[in-house]
């Protein structure tokens, strides 16, 4: 029985850019109001082609829970940590607000949360997982773009998708070993 490694696999071809995931996350995790304050986001990619031959894709994203996480390396007080399942966490009490992690993250996945007075980011909805539920953004998605699961368990939905389809990660060159996998 090897240990868990949580990840999210995304099929962006199904994304209709409805932003339900963004609002769900804000509501679930008490993310303060304001456009700057968000744990996840959906990028509306450039429109391809010229009228009337157009194409566009939408890329939902969030903290990549990197296996080699620069944000964790740079954190002076170890406020940023990693759970046994690979979730990159921030301990509010220990966060001094130096924002070093924000400059270190290549994905702009972190923001300073005025309400809890600490840096905040996606937690894979750890509290929901413990309660036996899937992350809010995964749960609410109309077209079920995101699939959350333990990729160390070959029988998990996520593992199966990765086995079946070619996939990529964002800014692979950074060597951060992100754990958000995008099906191609």
């Amino acid at each position: 029985m090897n240990k868990k490694r949580y990840a999210i696999v995304l099929d962006t071809r199904r994304c209709i850019d409805c932003k339900a995931c963004t609002v769900a996350c804000k509501a679930e995790n008490n993310v303060p109001l304001g456009r700057q304050n968000h744990r996840n986001w959906v990028t509306e990619e450039e429109v391809r082609g010229t009228y009337p031959h157009l194409g566009q894709s939408f890329t939902p994203s969030q903290c990549m829970h990197c296996a080699n996480a620069p944000c964790k390396k740079v954190c002076p007080t170890s406020a940023t940590g990693r759970s046994p399942e690979g979730i990159i966490t921030v301990d509010e009490k220990r966060c001094i607000g130096c924002k070093y992690c924000m400059t270190a993250c290549p994905y702009d996945a972190r923001y300073y949360n005025e309400e809890i007075e600490a840096v905040d980011k996606c937690t894979f909805c750890q509290h929901r997982i413990l309660a036996g539920r899937v992350p809010a953004c995964v749960d609410t998605c109309p077209t079920k773009v995101r699939v959350f699961g333990d990729i160390n368990d070959p029988t998990s939905e996520a593992s199966k998708l990765l086995a079946k389809h070619p996939h990529r990660v964002i800014k692979e060159g950074m060597g951060t070993k992100p754990h958000l996998f995008y099906l191609i």
Partner: protein
């Protein structure tokens, strides 16, 4: 002990600084009550602003003063012994004001004090920054103590250790930026080296200012050895500046050559973009060209001339720090970020941020001029 001489000039000087400190204190209070987010313009995309760059400016100055003065009592270049006490004292003061500035930038300085001890992360350059500068501060104070006591042995040991601490701490500060792979403009071994070098420039510049301040402005009779010292300092300073220019050029070329992603955009932001005026006018013209011209012109190499050169350098360096900090973050990590103006995110300090900076500068100068009155900083002996 020099006595308080009631000079109108001095009164004005102190009241101006007092005013600056008041502004700083007032702003600090507002920031603490209203919360950073309502007072500062740092954002999700640009989390580090002018307070960080000002902090860097101060600690670089501190290091510089320490290094330059060590030329005297560590490397035994006679003339430099003169400014030993002053240099070390100002080095302490700049370091402290630096700490003050960053304390206003970090949201929870107290938490920091606690958790850097309880749960240190030895992988974190900022952890090392705090620790090393801490040690460095202690050594500086020790060195100052022995200098005041004319305890040469002690001063020497402290000086050597201080020198080492200064170089480690300061190159590590370069590392704080240089180790961020996410920020190509900063990433690499360049910044640690560059920080050490530019420290020398800062140090030289500040020394030429305090020398002038004491012997011209405060009308203390200028001892015979000073003119000689000044010409040496001028030569040295000119040399430092030339090397600095060479460094800057080699910072830019790799940023353009082959258009490395993100590094190129950041470099262009400096050369032709939002930071261009800062760069060409303040950094290049005021900070480098003008001083070099002065220092290479025989008839200008007077206490006044050297001081002017130093002052110009100092201004230039302040902007170098600002531009360096901003340029590193100006390229967004995501294309679709809010408020992108032709591919770049924008940052402009808020009134509050300016207020804190003003306060810090005022405090620094105030403490120094006060110290000049409280301590006897003339080097005895020899």
């Amino acid at each position: 002990m020099a006595s308080f001489t009631k000079k109108p000039g001095e009164l004005l000087w102190f009241s101006l600084l007092g005013l600056g400190m008041l502004v700083g204190a007032g702003t600090a209070l507002m920031v603490l009550t209203k919360g950073h987010s309502h007072m500062y313009n740092v954002s999700r995309e640009v989390p580090w602003g002018i307070l960080i760059s000002t902090y860097v400016f101060f600690v670089v100055s501190s290091t510089g003063l320490c290094l330059v003065s060590s030329l005297g009592h560590v490397f035994g270049i006679e003339q430099f012994e003169l400014i030993g006490r002053r240099a070390i004292l100002l080095s302490i003061i700049t370091l402290l004001t630096g700490f003050g500035t960053i304390a206003m930038e970090i949201n929870h300085p107290i938490r920091m004090a606690i958790y850097v001890m309880l749960t240190p992360n030895l992988e974190s350059p900022i952890w090392w920054m705090g620790t090393l500068y801490g040690i460095y501060l202690v050594l500086l104070i020790g060195e100052f103590f022995f200098l005041m006591k004319n305890h040469h042995k002690g001063a020497l040991t402290m000086g050597i250790l201080g020198f080492i601490a200064a170089v480690t701490a300061h190159s590590n500060l370069g590392g704080v930026f240089g180790l961020l792979e996410a920020r190509p403009y900063w990433h690499g071994s360049f910044l640690p080296l560059y920080f050490i070098l530019s420290a020398l420039v800062s140090g030289g510049a500040l020394i030429s200012i305090i020398v002038y301040y004491n012997y011209q402005f405060r009308k203390i009779p200028l001892p015979a050895k000073y003119p000689h010292f000044l010409t040496t300092l001028a030569k040295l300073q000119a040399l430092f500046l030339m090397i600095l220019i060479f460094f800057i050029i080699w910072k830019i070329i790799p940023g353009l050559y082959g258009r490395p992603p993100e590094k190129y955009e950041a470099t262009m932001a400096i050369l032709t973009g939002p930071l261009a005026f800062n760069f060409w006018f303040f950094e290049v013209l005021i900070g480098m060209i003008a001083p070099v011209m002065i220092l290479f012109t025989k008839k200008f190499v007077t206490p006044f001339g050297v001081m002017v050169a130093g002052a110009l350098c100092t201004v230039g360096i302040f902007f170098m720090r600002y531009d360096l900090v901003v340029a590193g973050q100006i390229v967004p990590m995501r294309e679709d970020t809010d408020g992108i103006i032709n591919g770049l995110v924008s940052y402009a300090p808020s009134l509050a941020e300016y207020g804190i900076v003003l306060g810090a500068l005022a405090t620094c100068m105030f403490l120094y001029t006060l110290a000049e009155k409280v301590f006897d900083l003339e080097m005895k002996g020899h």
